[in-house]
Symmetry: none
Subunit: 121 residues, 2 copies
DNA sequence: CCTGAAAATGACAATCATTTTCATTTCAGA
DNA sequence: TCTGAAATGAAAATGATTGTCATTTTCAGG
């Protein structure tokens, strides 16, 4: 675990959810850290293979990362204005577990998002 | 529905599962079809938005496609080998509706996927 | 048959995330 | 202080996907 990895973990903590490598890089830049994009990618790879960070994919194929073991939440996203509401997802957790068990899958995770039009729009 | 889309559907039928745009393009070339890569991409986009084809992502971010079944389903995806199982998601449908109602959202849709390691891996 | 507008096509270039390369810097231990 | 391996990051390479645009095909109406 080197300095870069620690910096990356720190941003991920601040973010509190998923973020792409490019986003993390920009956040680090803005907060005055001197770190290159290449290094961010390398730190993320390393953290993923150490199972400290979870990696999955956005719909457009971009990789997104978050700290493992986060008690994560889900989002209700407005298609018009982009505002988001954090929502509770214990139903999803149960569904994930049930489906995984039914099909013999191990080490399961999931993604779930709801999008629509918010009351203000 | 134009000629290209029909060609693409035909290959997808032959493949019988997931394939990337590049793979489909090569298969079409090998079977003597005259079709450009751009056109394959366009046909796939169109088929996806018409819900004739399902699109999701390999672990490396490459998009893969296959013919839709007729029911709205979700996927259980193996992180290692990429094999997928269609799963039932009525719990998700209910959750989506409930959350949307609670927060006053209209015209809601959702995405949900479970990923893990399958019994064979 | 024509004919022209609209849709479809595909070669090529552009984009963008990610990876590779490689020269330089850091730093722990001798 | 010296030394070599690991870390760093700028820049180039890669590879999937998308955008551009000139050409071709389709086809309805004359």
């Amino acid at each position: 675990m080197n300095k870069s990895e620690i910096k990356v973990i720190a941003v991920l903590e601040r973010v509190g959810g998923f973020a792409s490598a490019q986003e993390l890089y920009q956040l680090l830049q803005r907060s005055g850290e001197s770190i290159g994009l290449t290094t961010v990618y390398r730190a993320l790879q390393s953290l993923v293979s150490d199972k400290i960070v979870d990696q999955l994919r956005r719909e457009d194929g971009e990789a997104i990362y978050r700290l493992c073991g986060d008690t994560h939440h889900h989002h209700l996203v407005c298609k018009q204005c982009g505002s988001t509401v954090e929502i509770e997802g214990s139903a999803i957790e149960r569904w994930t577990k049930a489906m995984a068990e039914e099909h013999g899958f191990r080490e399961v995770g999931h993604t779930a998002e709801i999008f629509g039009i918010c009351p203000n729009c």
